[in-house]
């Protein structure tokens, strides 16, 4: 059964190795923990998941597996009466009494009510996440277990809350598959500099100064050379960008590993007066775009990633944003960004063929002075060549 769990995690694209699996088995064999689901969840996490940005994926995989075991018998089309029976288990004694009085209709009413709560809870905020293939909505919107999760139930289910809370979600930058080509393309953007601590022996200087020192050794060191290019990335999220999540994540992963100085902000459709760094807290924690304009000097390279697909009003009109009332049009903010960082490009995941049919793409291309490139290896290479000039 555990071996199923192992492959289940791997199916959910968690990089679990055999070695780690054996560690987990060893831990279980030695009776490290009380035999409860909670402790198993924690132990398996400590042994198998080595990055907190993967916790979310682990939580989802674990929840799915747990549900799989629980609902092992009825797989796809759950008969309604079975659902109702499950639902009954989650009722409080008072509710049960009420049902006995009012009968089936009352039960259905309560059931629907619970189901609606359930749907809302599932949809809340999840529009913003997504990791390639596995949709957060998945599993057909609701499922029998959902009800039990919604209603407080037996004590041993507390763990469900832990993995259903899903506290870690942002763009996942761990997409390794296919990032290599992007990395190679991004590698064109390099600016070597010697800075930081002295680490390398400077042979010429050492010989010269030892000679000057009457033959007594005088070591001379220089700092190592490394890529010191600074990159500011603005990423469009949500809405039409949902179609491109896979590719953008690949790009983002590659950028994360290539650029030591990388700052990332998010926007929706078009940058306006505030941006955010975490989609989970995007309503509470916003950064004034003016602050960002001042904080990073012209040495930074600006990479905007977005499909530029929106209504032209969102670019041209004050108050055109779909989310809030913006005093100044997006185009003005775009120009400010371009003035602050002359070295800037726009990467567009939409296929190039469709660009000329979209008015908003044409507008932004114009604002960007044609520096809009597709998110392909060739497009990236062109973009990086321009940025490193």
């Amino acid at each position: 059964m555990l071996i199923d769990f192992f492959y289940h995690l791997r199916d959910h694209r968690l990089p679990v190795s055999v070695q780690e699996y054996l560690t987990l088995v060893d831990g279980l064999r030695r009776g490290l923990m009380a035999p409860t689901l909670d402790d198993f969840y924690f132990l398996a996490r400590a042994a198998l998941v080595k990055d907190e940005s993967l916790y979310d994926r682990y939580d989802r995989a674990f929840a799915a597996y747990y549900k799989g075991i629980e609902a092992a018998l009825p797989a796809q089309d759950v008969p309604l009466d079975w659902l109702i029976k499950e639902f009954e288990k989650s009722l409080t004694p008072e509710e049960k009494a009420a049902i006995r009085k009012h009968g089936w209709d009352k039960l259905m009413e309560l059931f629907k009510q619970r189901l609606d709560e359930q749907k809302e809870r599932h949809a809340g905020g999840s529009k913003w996440i997504g990791t390639g293939g596995t949709s957060p909505f998945g599993n057909g919107g609701y499922h029998p277990e959902g009800i039990r999760v919604g209603g407080e139930s037996a004590g041993n289910r507390t763990a469900v809350k832990v993995w259903d809370m899903r506290q870690f979600r942002d763009y996942d930058d761990q997409v390794e598959l296919g990032t290599r080509n992007f990395k190679v393309a991004l590698r064109r953007l390099r600016r070597f500099a010697r800075e930081g601590a002295d680490q390398e022996l400077d042979l010429d200087d050492t010989i010269a100064s030892t000679a000057r020192n009457a033959g007594y050794l005088d070591l001379r060191l220089v700092p190592q050379r490394h890529n010191s290019v600074k990159v500011l990335m603005l990423l469009d999220v949500g809405g039409s960008m949902d179609d491109h999540i896979g590719r953008v994540e690949e790009l983002f992963s590659a950028a994360r590993s290539e650029f030591r100085n990388l700052e990332v902000f998010y926007f929706h459709n078009c940058p306006y007066e505030s941006l955010w760094q975490s989609n989970r807290r995007r309503h509470g924690e916003r950064f004034d775009t003016w602050d960002i304009l001042r904080r990073y000097n012209a040495d930074w390279r600006l990479i905007i990633v977005g499909d530029a697909t929106m209504s032209p009003y969102e670019i041209l009109q004050p108050g055109g944003s779909v989310e809030h009332y913006n005093k100044e049009p997006g185009a003005l903010w775009m120009r400010r960004l371009l003035d602050a960082w002359p070295k800037s490009v726009w990467l567009n995941p939409e296929p190039t063929a469709s660009w000329r049919y979209r008015q908003s793409i044409a507008l932004l291309r114009d604002i960007m002075q044609e520096r809009m490139y597709p998110v392909t290896v060739a497009g990236l290479e062109q973009a990086m060549r321009w940025l490193s000039k």
């Binding site: 924690f42 400590a46 080595k50 050794l217």
Partner: protein, 291 residues
């Protein structure tokens, strides 16, 4: 459970009177202890990563050996160093010591841990500060708990496998091969209830209303947008120490919180820009109230 375990079994870590450990953290420590593998701890700065190692050592009654990593630290330095430069200098000065190479082998933290009479706890602090290859260079040493000294042709093997606790601030990604050999735990920022427990452990004498007011201010400040360095647990504890010393009341704290700049904000915010930001905010909200 720990009370009934016989001395032959490895001791378990159950938290201490000075350190509030969550269940998953305890489990991770005990897993590392039982299976004798390194434990990698990540988390926001100031959530008690380094403190954990100290408290684990104290709870288990083992000595703690600390190895603080800097950007220039090399893996070899944890094992031993051959001080060639001073040997060269001694040879030029004609010192007798120069004939024996062992005089110039300097033991590192791991060597000391391996040779210790009793099991120890080793803390490798902020491993992400070092070069990218650093963890890879320690793979075999941490796996087998032994290494070879080329200069003297001897092999140093651990008498007792030490409990290795490694902390990281996530400045660099660690290599997969290294991660596979570790247990991993991410210390999440404590929620309000856990924070109350933590404060109670450090300041049992603190009044309830002062604690309430202080926590209100603290969590509001953490939610403030745009701060460069959010105050963490260690800053909160420093701040409470100050509040206690000044004998501040809950009313005073609340009054200051309403103006957006907390009482003695310098203890919570270590960054000048953050302080300015708050003052600007205070000016804005103050204006809003007057209107």
């Amino acid at each position: 459970m720990s009370a009934t375990s016989s001395p032959a079994q490895p001791a378990r870590f159950e938290g201490t009177d000075r350190y509030v450990a969550t269940d998953d953290l305890k489990l991770a420590v005990n897993a590392a202890l039982t299976l004798q593998r390194p434990l990698l701890i990540k988390g926001e700065p100031g959530t008690g990563k380094t403190m954990l190692a100290e408290e684990v050592a104290r709870a288990l009654g083992r000595p703690l050996l600390q190895w603080h990593i800097k950007s220039t630290t090399k893996a070899q330095q944890g094992l031993y160093e051959y001080d060639a430069v001073s040997r060269l200098r001694d040879s030029q000065l004609g010192d007798e010591k120069v004939r024996d190479i062992r005089n110039y082998i300097v033991q590192g933290t791991l060597w000391q841990a391996f040779e210790a009479e009793q099991p120890v706890v080793v803390l490798i602090d902020e491993i992400d500060k070092a070069d990218i290859e650093f963890p890879n260079d320690l793979l075999r040493e941490l796996d087998r708990m032994e290494f070879h000294v080329y200069e003297t042709r001897q092999t140093v093997a651990a008498r007792h496998r030490p409990l290795v606790i490694i902390t990281s601030n996530n400045e660099k990604d660690l290599p997969d091969a290294f991660l596979r050999r570790c247990f991993f735990h991410y210390i999440r920022f404590p929620d309000r209830d856990t924070m109350r427990d933590i404060v109670a452990v450090h300041f049992p004498q603190l009044k309830q209303d002062v604690l309430r007011a202080a926590l209100d201010t603290f969590f509001a400040l953490r939610d403030a947008p745009g701060l460069k360095k959010k105050p963490s647990t260690s800053e909160l504890l420093d701040w409470l120490r100050l509040l206690l010393a000044e004998d501040a009341t809950a009313a005073q704290i609340d009054a200051h919180a309403a103006t957006a700049v907390p009482l003695m904000a310098g203890a919570l915010l270590k960054n000048e820009q953050d302080l300015h930001l708050l003052e600007r905010l205070a000016a804005m909200t103050g204006g809003g109230q007057r209107r």
